[in-house]
């Protein structure tokens, strides 16, 4: 039994925000094509309902690239059917969406290897080779986090 | 204790105490006063006291005779803000909750947008009443501090209530506190100024009617 009809009323109704965001994306995309300046639209910071976001997702569609980044929970990244418009959906380890954004860029930063990480992994690979133990698998993030001492 | 706590607590408490004390005092003093005996013989055909008083109350509901022209504005404008105040006080949901808490009875409220509309009309009507009082030379001459204070004590709750529902000028809790403080001030002033007419208006009109009828005034 649904006790609270109203609890669902406001998250299931489309408010027309999807159209407004699409217009903004079109502008940002033209700007990016002209100047190369990247922009991010925070979808969870806007007064959008779930229905609005679903409508936006439908309208933008799926492009050629889809990636999953496994860092502190899965993050889904895909290029929409419009090149240069990327959808980034971050989830925590409990699968709950923690943030969601549209990034107008060539490749979202979350997919790039950070230069510090590159440097660190270069020295790690060198150390591994030096220690003759090439069979030891590299640590993944979740193992790394488990080793830290968490409160609670 | 913040301003809202003060307004909802001590301020309204003092307002209610002074109101209860003052109204009980004035009503008891007036109604228990022995009536002056009119020993003269009533004119022939004079109606009974009940009919005379009732007739006078009704007659004064609308501009009459020689004064019709001069009093038309005051009477009509008076109706507008009196009815407006009644609709706001007895139809607005927060006000019904206030009264329910005091008297334990409640009734359905009117939609917020209707109350808002009525409030704006009442606000304008009260301003017109003041403008009239200031601009009319006769009215200005016979106006005392009592009139202006009574006007202000009525106007302030309407004005601050409008601010509170429209969230204008300050945070809601501050606006609500100011509104409640203005109500407390209204309650304190009520028994001692002309606002007391709310209880006495029909008593005095009825009494006048009885006197006039006794002397054979044909109205």
């Amino acid at each position: 039994m649904r006790l609270h009809d109203a609890a669902d009323c406001c998250s299931s109704e489309a408010t027309g925000m999807a159209g407004a965001v699409l217009n903004e994306i079109a502008e940002l995309l033209e700007h990016f094509a002209k100047t190369g300046e990247e922009t991010i639209v925070d979808l969870r910071g806007l007064p959008m309902t779930d229905a609005d976001r679903a409508a936006l997702e439908d309208a933008l569609g799926q492009g050629e690239v889809t990636a999953v980044v496994d860092v502190a929970g899965p993050s889904e990244v895909w290029e929409t059917s419009y090149a240069g418009v990327w959808w980034v959906r971050h989830r925590g380890a409990d699968e709950r969406i923690t943030s969601e954004e549209i990034v107008v860029t060539r490749v979202p930063a979350i997919l790039l290897s950070h230069s510090d990480d590159v440097r660190a992994s270069a020295s790690r690979l060198r150390e591994t080779l030096a220690s003759d133990d090439v069979t030891e698998p590299a640590q993944t993030i979740d193992q790394g986090l488990e080793e830290t001492s968490h409160v609670g | 204790m913040d301003l809202l706590d003060f307004a909802r607590g001590p301020a309204l408490q003092v307002g209610l105490i002074v109101f209860a004390f003052g109204v009980a005092w004035r009503l008891a003093a007036l109604l228990l006063l022995p009536r002056m005996q009119d020993r003269s013989k009533a004119r022939e055909g004079a109606p009974t006291a009940a009919i005379a008083s009732g007739r006078e109350v009704l007659r004064r509901m609308w501009p009459q005779g020689a004064f019709a022209e001069a009093t038309r504005f005051s009477v009509i404008n008076g109706y507008i803000f009196h009815l407006g105040l009644a609709i706001i006080v007895f139809g607005g949901t927060p006000h019904i909750l206030f009264l329910r808490d005091l008297f334990g009875i409640s009734w359905p409220g009117l939609p917020t947008n209707i109350i808002n509309g009525v409030s704006v009309i009442t606000f304008a009507s009260l301003l017109l009443a003041l403008a009239r009082r200031i601009n009319d030379p006769v009215l200005r001459l016979i106006s005392t501090a009592n009139d202006y204070i009574s006007w202000a004590m009525t106007f302030l709750p309407v004005a601050t209530g409008l601010l509170a529902i429209s969230h204008l000028g300050a945070r809601y809790e501050t606006l609500l506190a100011i509104h409640l403080l203005s109500v407390a001030a209204f309650l304190v002033w009520f028994p001692f100024g002309k606002l007391m007419h709310a209880f006495l208006v029909f008593v005095s009109r009825g009494t006048t009617g009885v006197h006039l009828a006794h002397r054979g005034a044909q109205l």
């Binding site: 006790l3 910071g45 860092v71 971050h90 830290t148 409160v151 | 909802r8 009980a24 009503l27 005091l102």
Partner: protein, 358 residues
């Protein structure tokens, strides 16, 4: 426990890439309504920051605030905050360590002089020399003053630390006061709530870490990002309020249909917090969504605002014995006045009759 390495270096050594910082920054930007463009700046600042030393003092409290922060909703992502800070002392969690814990606190204060953050939950009793709450024989008031002396900033979590809370409620037998009543010379951030929303606590700490300064605060020192709007303003039941559709009791048709709870005492219009947007327990619900009005727990003196179920529009006391007594006294004075006049008229009449007869 000083560590000269940057957070980026610490995390890299654990195999955690910079992507985690980016993801956390994106989450923080959303939670704190920062411009999305700030994400890369936050990620960069976090990576180059040093681990923040934090000393957590627990005074007159129920441990609900600690319960709340340790149950922040998105494990692994939210928990990153515990990698970003060095929780050098937590009174409640370290109580079994006894004297060793107290030494850790003193060591952290010495090592991070002027740089550490003090988090306080619970109010501070000052009546009778503060004897109503002591730790290791030291009164809360003394320990607060000593610990805060060399701190960078103080974060009061929970309504007790921020405003005195429940120990401060009438009649306040222990003379409980807020941290800000004692500490006057340090920046103080209040994160009230009973308990506070975990994201409000972790978000504020992460902000301090990323930007090295206090977030924008309201006049009660609460971060505007979380306490800038009232529950009422962001309530999904607000349309029912506007339409005049209210629940009159907790089991009537209005309550079942999820209408506005204003009539049953909801304090949403005067309560500033993020419950209506961030919600609780991983975004599952918040009190109003569960059918109960807001208690306004993030506001000062929420416990002493009359019944939780009394509508905001009603006077706190109502018609009580004092009002009744005032009416009785007023009527008695009025009746006496009428009586005196009656007597006076009688005297006048008597004198007149006497004159005529005489």
């Amino acid at each position: 426990m000083s560590d000269d390495r940057t957070l980026g270096e610490v995390m890299t050594s654990r195999g955690v890439s910079r992507r985690a910082f980016l993801k956390y920054a994106s989450y923080l930007a959303t939670a704190m309504a920062l411009p999305a463009s700030a994400t890369s700046v936050i990620a960069q600042s976090l990576a180059t920051a040093r681990r923040q030393s934090v000393i957590w003092l627990s005074f007159q409290e129920c441990t609900g605030c600690t319960e709340s922060i340790t149950r922040s909703y998105s494990p692994t992502l939210e928990d990153l905050i515990f990698d970003f800070i060095s929780l050098d002392y937590h009174h409640t969690l370290m109580s079994v360590s006894g004297a060793a814990a107290e030494h850790a606190r003193e060591q952290a204060m010495k090592d991070n002089k002027g740089k550490y953050i003090v988090i306080v939950d619970g109010s501070v009793p000052i009546k009778d020399g503060g004897i109503y709450s002591t730790i290791a024989g030291v009164t809360n008031e003394q320990m607060l003053k000593d610990t805060v002396k060399d701190a960078f900033a103080v974060v009061s979590v929970g309504t007790c630390a921020a405003f005195g809370g429940i120990p401060h409620a009438n009649p306040n037998p222990t003379g409980a006061v807020a941290v800000s009543d004692i500490i006057k010379d340090k920046p103080i951030i209040n994160i009230p709530g009973c308990p506070p929303i975990p994201e409000a606590m972790t978000g504020t700490i992460a902000y301090l870490l990323s930007f090295g300064k206090l977030p924008e605060l309201d006049k009660l020192n609460r971060p505007l990002a979380f306490f800038g709007e009232s529950i009422h303003d962001r309530c999904y039941r607000r349309p029912f309020y506007e339409r005049g559709m209210f629940a009159d009791s907790f089991d009537d048709e209005g309550a079942r249909k999820g209408w506005c709870l204003y009539k049953v005492g909801c304090k949403g219009p005067i309560a500033y917090n993020a419950c209506a947007t961030l919600k609780w327990n991983g975004g599952i619900s918040f009190p109003i969504q569960s059918g109960h009005g807001c208690l306004g727990c993030s506001e000062p003196n929420f416990w002493d605002k009359g019944s939780f179920y009394k509508p905001l529009a009603a006077a706190t006391a109502g018609i009580n014995a004092e009002v009744g007594a005032a009416a009785v006294v007023g009527a008695a004075i009025g009746a006496t006045a009428a009586q005196i006049i009656k007597k006076r008229r009688q005297d006048v009449a008597d004198r007149a009759i006497k004159k005529v007869e005489g």
